[in-house]
Amino acid sequence: MSTGTTKLDVVVSDVIPVNELVTRFHFRRRDGQLLPTFSGGAHVVVEMRDGERTRLNPYSLMGSPLDTREYTISVRRDDVGRGGSLFMHRNVRPGMEMVISYPVNLFSLDLRARKHLMLAGGIGITPFMAQTAQLAAEGGNFELHYTCRTASLGTYADVLRERYDRRVRLYHDDRDERIELDRLLSSQPLGTHLYVCGPSGMIGWVRDRAAALGWPTETVHFEHFAAPQPGAPFDVTLAVSGKTIRVGEQQSLLEAIEAAGVDPPYLCRGGVCGQCETNVIAHDGKFIHNDHWLSEEEHRSCKKIMPCVSRFEGRSLVLER
């Protein structure tokens, strides 16, 4: 199988600023056909042609899975990130032709759940937009707790409150409102599944408290896309293809490998799906593992690396690519 998923040729049908940080993008198929059906929690990888560079960033689909005339994503501008979100905000205009991947779901609902308890932080709200739409249409039982910095940065809070009323609880940091997590987790009916998407601190907190309060790990689901972190440039030898490459400061290792014409498989580009797992043949230096795929033991072993998010500091690194 070749890299990633089947591609979709789309046109940007709308660009709508939602608040000072978030902009929503609408895509339709260029051939006028319906887009593929998807499930709540799915993401697409958006290809951005940024001059010489191709950026590939994953974004959750946030529209209703019942309406496949268009896909919508919401992008939070990250002024200190590697530039993908800035490209979307500055360069993408209605009418522009783009390429996106087929949807992939790595944050799927467990359809056995008697109740779905959802916890969102900030832009982590987007997968829940689609999941709540899906569940509401089926008469599913859900409850959403959404934390945002301020009311004006509470992306789609108004929409969600209007759609689902008291099934949505909002918490504003600037008003010192906090989820009473222990009370919430202790008062759920049997058969409840817990979903969390937000900053990694929030995910860690929720998982820890759920574990401490006796929630089985199978009932706790989280979406943990780590954006690749910039870092010092480093050199890598690709043993299979016989190439030596330099990973730039703002580039991920995966992007540098792709730029050299080698195409490892990928799905999430965020350290969770496991597709781009790569064997280390030799190294002299230190790994900076940022993924959620390899175990701690594997991280310590220095035998594998997830090139989508992890980096290296040191004299030499040889990979089986």
Binding site: M1, T5, T6, P36, T37, F38, S39, G41, A42, P65, Y102, P103, V104, N105, S108, L109, D110, L111, R112, Q134, A137, E138, E218, L267, C273, G274, Q275
Partner: protein, 346 residues
């Protein structure tokens, strides 16, 4: 021009036959003169015209008779079709997939018309014309999976994907090579493969699970598997072992050509869009030796494959009792000349 559907049986008088055109399109599973296990998974894309891969969901001249046989199996044993409560959405996914593919491949036999969630399905070979609301179970005579798999050739397993594993949580299984949905329902991938020896030690199932959980929407995959069956019996289930097991003792040099059948499974794997589950259609093709040897290349090659098959594999595939008789019969059709590469007849 549509398909001429045969009127035939897969039990009692066993009138099942392949027409000459269907013999030529049979998915002969050996590309060389020997056989060994291999990871033979490839993308499930459309193949040559006139092959079983011409459409991704194949409908052939046995369609009507196979559906009648399925109805008989279900009437005797309703547990051949099961769907755990959380699998209804996946059932709708499968209904959409099979209706779309059958209507696309065989417009003269099947028509799907959609107006939002109001759908009309016309199945001419079976005389069905139903209008229903997609997503509303009360508008169909059966659950969505049972409804559409009573109208689709092959067995279907729907696997739920969760906790990094696949779970056999729904299926329609009436044409199986000796395994039971009722036994496996609710098991995960490792549990239902537990009886297979050796493969676990080789880590085959860990790799296979990794592959399957990463199957993407719009990118189905397929593989071929094979065994042999005595008499053209679709339902060789453990539940009915007493009916078909003894058949294996009835092979004689005189009846090999009529009784011994090569049984090929075209297995495909598809991601389901709404439920994020995986559907695993297992389509069974049968061909009797008399039909198979009408293609001299296949006769020569099958002789060499069965003759040289490792003992463990022959036992695993249940050929032990009649292997010698079969090899002797086939040897007369093998003049030792070379066979051309590839699966197809010359």
């Amino acid at each position: 021009m549509g398909i001429t559907f045969r009127n035939e049986t897969f039990r009692n008088d066993f009138t099942f036959r392949n027409s000459p055109e269907h013999i030529r399109r049979f998915p002969f599973p050996f590309h060389e003169d020997s056989y060994m296990y291999a990871v033979n998974i490839e993308p499930h894309v459309v193949g040559p015209k006139g092959s079983v891969l011409e459409n991704l969901i194949d409908v052939d001249e046995h369609y009507v008779a196979e559906m009648q046989d399925r109805a008989l199996v279900l009437a005797e044993d309703p547990l051949r079709c099961q769907s755990l409560p959380h699998m209804t959405l996946a059932g709708w996914d499968l209904l959409e997939l099979l209706m779309e593919q059958q209507a696309l491949g065989y417009p003269e036999h099947f028509t799907l018309t959609r107006d939002g969630d109001r759908w009309r399905w016309i199945n001419r070979p079976l005389g069905i014309d139903d209008t229903f609301t997609f997503g509303d179970v009360s508008t169909l005579p059966y659950g969505p999976m049972e409804y559409i798999t009573r109208q689709s050739q092959g067995d279907f397993c729907i696997l739920d994907q969760r906790d990094g594993n696949l779970w056999m949580d729904a299926g329609m299984v009436t044409t199986q090579a000796d395994w039971s949905l009722d036994f496996d329902i609710g098991m995960n991938f490792f549990e239902w493969h537990a009886p297979v020896p050796l493969a676990h030690e080789k880590g085959i199932f860990v790799r296979a699970l990794k592959f399957l959980t990463n199957i993407q929407q719009g990118k189905p995959a397929r593989r071929l598997n094979w065994t042999m069956t005595i008499n053209p019996r679709l339902d060789t289930s453990p539940e009915n072992y007493h009916k078909w097991g003894p058949d294996r003792t009835t092979v004689t040099p005189e009846n090999v050509g009529d009784k011994v059948h090569l049984r090929v499974e075209l297995q495909s794997f598809w991601r389901l869009p709404r439920s994020n589950g995986i559907v695993f259609p297992i389509r069974c093709y049968l061909i009797k030796m008399d039909e198979l040897v009408t293609q001299p290349k296949w006769a020569r090659r099958l002789h060499r494959v069965i003759r040289d098959l490792p003992e463990e594999l022959a036992t695993y595939k249940g050929l032990k009792r009649y292997r010698a008789t079969l090899v002797e019969w086939l040897s007369k059709l093998d003049d030792g000349s070379p066979t051309s590469p590839g699966f197809g007849p010359d």
